[in-house]
Amino acid sequence: MQGIKSQEKVRDFHQAKWNEPVIFKLHQKGERGVVPPKTEDEITSAVGDGLSKLPDHLKRTQAPELPEISQNRVLRHYLRLSQETLGAAFNVEIGQGTCTMKYSPVVNEKLVSSEKLRSLHPKQDEETVQGTLKATYELDLYLREISGMDYFSFQAGSGTQALFAMASMVRAYHEANGEGEQRDEIITTIFSHPSQAATAAVKGYKIITLYPDENGFPDLEKLKDAVSERTAGFVVANPEDTGIYNSKIKEFTKVVHDAGGICYYDQANANGLLGITRAKEAGFDMCFFNLHKTFSTPHACGGPGSGAVGVVERLKPYLPKPIIEKQGERYILNTDLEHSIGKVRSYYGVAQNIIRAYAWIRALGPDGLKAVAETAVLNNNYLYSKIKEIKGVDVPYAEGGRLEQVRYSWEPLYQDTGITTEDISRRMADFAHQYWTSHHPYVVPQPFTLEPTESYSKEDLDEYIESLAHISNEAYTDPEIIRTAPHCSSIHKITTDKYFEDPEHWAITWRSYLKKYVNTKEKQT
């Protein structure tokens, strides 16, 4: 051999494909996956079967139709399905822009698997959880440093819940000031995460959405037009999904403040900004960080995450209860918050994510955090410089100036070939890549959004770029292969949306599937 070399620049990949049936099909009467603890005979003789006290109508008469499966067969099923899931640890995970899919250090996973954390009950005496409280308090201090805010609450289980908490505080604040009724509008932007608008609406607000100007920024003039004595708050990310930092942000917050509104900053993703610029100086009253984004806690198939909400001193009384504070050498749960919104989530937050984020910051230190931001921005601009050269790609709005992510567009490609960004998404799966388009509505046509973070080598980025370039080439030469993709995934193309959109056809549980498709005939006869 002349050394083993491939001419291909895309990965010769096939995802694990097990064609595993739905777990109910593994049912085998009499098998058991686990035997739960059983009662000691002495207890049975003391109290009997335990069930006779139940009123008959509360006793379950029909056993649930759960499958019966031996332990190794349950395990095998789930292990196989795990291999059919393209976790961030397995791919060059830069295709879920705005999600900040960075490396979640394995050591943190080992740390949080300790029974010293897992087995803690939220109502334990404070004395018995000083370790966890200390970590939470110190993480609070670090986030204050990073944001300039004065207090943090870790209660929210995600960014969405953090946004909800902030909308709730906006309301509580104005209510406390007797303007609860009057101030009934929250201003947001179209390039923001849908939860900004949605959570404000849950809190009863009317939503005013700013659209971008020609450079992709929310329009300052429109903001000026929008604010009034009805303005309760303004929520925005910066950069937004375009990745362009809005230099005039301080003017924005001033306009809102002048109108009596509160400004809250969506920093779910703050990955390009650590140690670079802070919420406080930009004039925000509140902000939140997703610990599962910037601070590396893993995404866990979609949670539990953690949304850390920071506020300026003035808003402290509105925070959800309790917050963790230090009293002498002790750490305590402080519930003494006069105007508290109460709770958004049970207890005090996702403790395991607090520890992970704490560990991540401790592993990096101040220089490391800044290097994270800078490397993320470097990687993103490198990616940007290469991807905009790919045939069929367009990058709307301002030239350059992108921080940690970019929203791109395949509009030219679509016009030329009819290939859509969804088609490309499926085809990217064939090369082991995640790929995300955009939130709805597609303000940018045929969008896709990439965020490389600090976790990838140039070589990794090049692989992703090559895959996009390869597919662009296919679109112009052999589009059918894209239209019929994926070819190397765990499953093939789903060709109809009937089973997702038609109430007669959808089946949201196996039970429902059986009723609609399998047992129908038997039932009829």
Binding site: L58, M101, P304
Partner: protein, 461 residues
């Protein structure tokens, strides 16, 4: 630019590579990339955060920190009240720690097929326990599930009041109130002093034209069972009020599902099904309904459905009726959705698959027996009444210490010194119960554990 740093989490810090990338971009240095940030907004100090630790130091540091905690595994704990200590099969931990699942997020039907399938399976397994056809991809916790269920009912009925029992878990009530304000008013319904169950007269009196829903819990926060479920849902139905029942699913191996006594929406907590407590970080809620378009339309959550693919014999999975969600419709979607608690749901699915019908039945029975034994043992202690309410309980019960002349705080302090975490002090949450505490007994409490509790209480009181 800060000084060069090499760090295991930071690949691209090699000088030449960096230079090459900068050249490709067409800038001189990284600072140029930040030129859109005005100087006045640039943070120029060094962050006041401790210097970096290497992995060994980190392990030692965090190890020491966690060492300051005393886990329930090191003591005998009778804490419950919404977060419970249960046996966790090792397979649950194994699946929940698979790197693929730990690090996946929001991929599509294809590259994340496994994730879609395990969540569909979770929905399906829980549906069997609940006897319903629709279960959602989970919410944050039971509290938020209950709040959302109420909001769903409000939208369905276009009414703006919900009734909940006074015995509701205080944590959940706070969440419900916050999630429902300002639109929906939450009214508390009295309970019967003897049994703790809902006062049906008071319920009827409170039902009005504005009533969207009646929500109650079974088992209740205070451990007793609400035996009037059928009656309550009949009352509700006759007034066009939606019945919502909150349930601890671990009870459903022995207890009838609320679907069987008229619940329109069922919600509850997934933590007990294989999820570690994690100081409250293991909470995860569910919402379940019948397969009716009206109900399905009101879910804010993702709902995964099953579909064929272009290849014969293949199962695919995807989002059902995505256009409901705020992902699709922003403020015009149903409430909001985002990162929730999928891993807890996956784990709950694994748990139910392992337990099967037999495991759930046996487990429920064990819990009933052990908690009854605990009540019996405590009953033998003078001055203590181990069941404040005259009712049948599941897993938890209110111990009445009013006759002892001691506060629950004092009693718990004593127990703590003996390596026992006593029950939740109810004296603030439910002042009307005086010095009472909520004790939780599950399958993990051996006879010996319970006997020690009894012995120590006897010793102290």
């Amino acid at each position: 630019m800060t000084k060069a740093i090499t760090h295991p989490y930071l690949p691209n810090t090699n000088r030449e590579i960096k230079a090459q990338m900068l050249q490709e971009i067409g800038v001189e240095n990284i600072d140029e990339l930040y030129q859109t940030i005005p100087d006045e907004l640039r943070y120029t100090s060094k962050l006041n955060i401790p210097e970096a630790l290497n992995e060994f130091e980190l392990k030692r540091e965090i190890g020491n920190l966690l060492g300051k905690n005393k886990g329930t595994n090191e003591v005998i704990s009778f804490l419950g009240g919404g977060c419970w200590q249960h046996f966790i099969p090792a397979v649950c931990d194994e699946v929940a720690s698979r790197a693929e699942f730990v690090t996946a997020y929001a991929g599509d039907e294809y590259e994340d097929h496994g994730r879609f399938q395990v969540l569909f399976e979770y929905q399906s397994l829980l549906a069997e326990l609940l006897c319903v056809d629709v279960v959602n991809v989970p919410t944050f916790d039971w509290g938020q599930a209950a709040a959302t269920a109420i909001r769903m009912a409000s939208r369905l009925t276009t009414k703006k009041e919900a009734l909940v029992p006074k015995t509701i878990a205080p944590e959940r009530l706070k969440i419900i109130r916050n999630y429902c304000s300002p639109d929906i008013e939450i009214k508390l319904i009295d309970y019967q002093e003897a049994t703790g169950e809902l006062d049906l007269t008071n319920l009827k009196n409170n039902i009005s034209e504005q009533t969207a829903a009646i929500y109650f819990e079974n088992p209740s926060y205070l451990g007793f069972l609400e035996t009037q479920g059928e009656e309550i849902s009949r009352i509700a139905k006759s007034a066009d009020v939606i019945t919502i029942v909150g349930v601890d699913p671990i009870s459903l191996g022995v207890l009838e599902s609320p679907a069987q006594y008229g619940a329109d929406i069922i919600c509850g907590e997934l933590q007990p099904l294989g999820n570690p407590m994690n100081y409250g970080g293991g909470q995860s809620g569910f919402i379940a309904t019948r397969d009716e378009i009206e109900y399905i339309s009101e879910f804010p959550s993702r709902l995964f459905g099953i579909t064929p693919t272009s290849q014969e014999g293949e199962y695919g999975f995807g989002d059902v009726f995505y256009d409901r969600t705020s992902f699709a419709k922003r403020e015009n979607g149903k409430e909001s959705v985002g990162t929730q608690t999928s891993m807890c749901a996956i784990t709950a699915g694994v748990y139910l698959a392992l337990m099967g019908p037999k495991g759930m039945a046996e487990l429920g029975q064990t819990i009933m027996q052990r908690s009854q034994y605990a009540m019996k043992k405590l009953n033998e202690i003078e001055k203590i009444s181990p069941s404040y309410f005259n009712n049948v309980n599941f897993k938890e019960f209110v111990v009445d210490f009013n006759e002892t002349g001691k506060t629950v705080a004092e009693i718990n302090q004593y127990l703590l010194s003996k390596g026992i975490y006593g029950g939740i002090d109810l004296s603030e949450e439910f002042p009307e119960l005086g010095q009472s505490a909520l004790f939780c007994v599950t399958e993990v409490h051996s006879k010996a554990d319970i006997d020690i509790l009894a012995k120590e209480l006897r010793a102290f009181l």
